[in-house]
Symmetry: C2
Subunit: 323 residues, 2 copies
């Protein structure tokens, strides 16, 4: 896993992934007490950065292998990213989802051309089911974060940040990233190591689910005590990845943990000031930039808004309570 793979992924993504802009607002600068740039990956295809990793992984396969199709386990953003990347490559995608996943997510994944296989969380073994499907049909498993080509794809967002920030004369910044398994965080950190070495990546997580923050602090992979109880579903994972953790430990600054309420407030401010839609987990970094200013150093912060796939009811709650 190295910068060359990220640069190669960027070439494969060119003309397919969107180059998301850097947004800003003087109103957000005032709240944060420093200059704030937001990179809205919610505007990426399928509404999250996950399309980058999905496309990177699909496009890196040899054509014959790829033609048999891919499989992924996900009820969320990874599912849609892989499904759409497969559809655009003209190859089959099987997405294994729990049967109690929201109907809208199942419908959306199907509408993006994927075959959705449902399993019963209480009685069926997801991994065994997936392995059997992959074996039968010769499908390639696309993991959500602990895969070099997925990390490389997510890292292309870092190449864009380095290039876009330099247009504004920004060389030094803390780069805040919503962090689940660490695919986006580690990929961006690797990209910035080469192209913006004075920037420091800070992983942002929900309070109570700060496995990456604790792992970086202790130097060992730490697990979350539980996997439910936050609205930031997109970035709740059991523990950092075996591939992503060493990269994060080497390159990242300390993590920042934010509350669900911080995320809802950040969603409302992004609505008011940037005119973008962010989901709770995707707002963790902006929440840190705005409401944890004492934990941040320097004149400039760059926050990735990693996804925007939020149910209307949750978004309405954010606006009613905080806009």
């Amino acid at each position: 896993m190295n910068i060359d793979m990220i640069e190669a992924a960027a070439e494969r993504l060119s003309g397919h992934a969107r180059q998301t802009p850097l947004l800003s607002s003087p109103f957000l600068d005032d709240i944060a007490g420093r200059r704030v740039f937001v990179k809205p990956e919610c505007l990426q295809h399928t509404g999250s950065f996950k399309f980058r990793g999905g496309w990177s992984a699909l496009s890196a396969l040899d054509p014959e292998t790829r033609s048999r199709g891919v499989i992924a386990f996900s009820s969320g953003n990874h599912a849609q990213g892989v499904a759409y990347a497969a559809q655009q490559h003209g190859v089959p995608a099987v997405i294994v989802m729990p049967s109690d996943a929201p109907k809208l997510k199942i419908d959306n994944t199907r509408a993006l051309g994927a075959e959705v296989v449902l399993y019963d969380r209480t009685t069926e073994d997801r991994d065994a089911l997936g392995a059997a499907l992959a074996e039968d049909r010769g499908l390639v498993l696309i993991k959500p974060f602990d895969d070099p080509q997925v990390i490389a794809g997510q890292g292309t967002a870092g190449l864009e940040i380095a290039q876009q920030a330099s247009v504004y004369g920004v060389e030094q910044a803390e780069v805040l990233i919503p962090c689940g398994g660490g695919g986006l965080t580690s990929g961006v950190a690797l990209a910035l190591e080469k192209y913006a070495p004075e920037m420091v990546v800070r992983p942002c997580e929900p309070e109570g689910f700060d496995d990456v923050k604790r792992s970086i602090a202790s130097g060992h992979i730490e697990r979350n005590p539980r996997l439910s109880g936050s609205i930031c579903d997109a970035i709740i994972t059991p523990q950092p990845g075996d591939l992503t953790f060493p990269i994060m430990q080497r390159l990242c600054g300390s993590g920042i943990a934010v509350s669900d309420t911080d995320c809802l407030r950040a969603m409302a401010l992004a609505f008011l000031r940037l005119k973008i839609v962010i989901e709770p987990g995707g707002a963790a970094a902006l929440a840190a930039a705005l409401f944890h200013r004492d934990e941040i150093e320097g004149a400039t912060v760059i926050a990735i808004a990693s996804g925007g796939n939020v149910d209307p009811a949750m978004f309405i709650q954010a606006l009613q309570d905080h806009a």
Copy 2:
């Protein structure tokens, strides 16, 4: 008023206005029955395309004149665009607003550095008040649409459309634009006349306030019978401009009138599928693309989402009723 002025405005705006991307979603393509691109000017500084015209007009003034400051009449997007452009130029801006304008808009305009002068709609003469202020202080009036440099600034969005669409191999398209006084519509039409001559601009207006549609049809400037009664406040104007109308008549296809409900539905779909926030008037073109497909020709439509300055309550209504 010609293409050279638009190109000169683009040079002055470079590095100051945002180049907004072209967004798309296969879900919107399905609804529209053709390929749909959306240019989200809601992501422009101050949340609407008006910053382009404001910057263009400010930057075209000779420095000594500019240093005395500018004045504008507006309670909406033009106010914020001019205020921020003046602040960034380091010169004073006076914005004349009705005293019953929403407090949030008054506060926002002040926060962008402008001096807000309130007048009583029932007892005071706005134009006389403004003329006296301009005379006393040597301020230059920045009109909302019927000014060559304002039209030139708005036209820079058209230069971007031509360039961005060509990346996708799109030469032919109907370009749908939310239309009030016609500054954006005429500016974009002039830009496309040179750089994408196979594209046709179609002005989009609220039903009952389709003065531009009727003016193009009759060949004369027609007025709206009333100026209230639509949620699309950003694009309600008495009649097309003396400068903008001849350009629109020469270059535009027929207008499209959309209902308030169409706009709310388009806002909800932009939330779900594009993750952007559009105000009702700013959604008129997307509404036409999605719900007036029989009035549109060709394989591709490009809709400008012209602004995103919507009150949370209105946005919540769109989501509750249509998401």
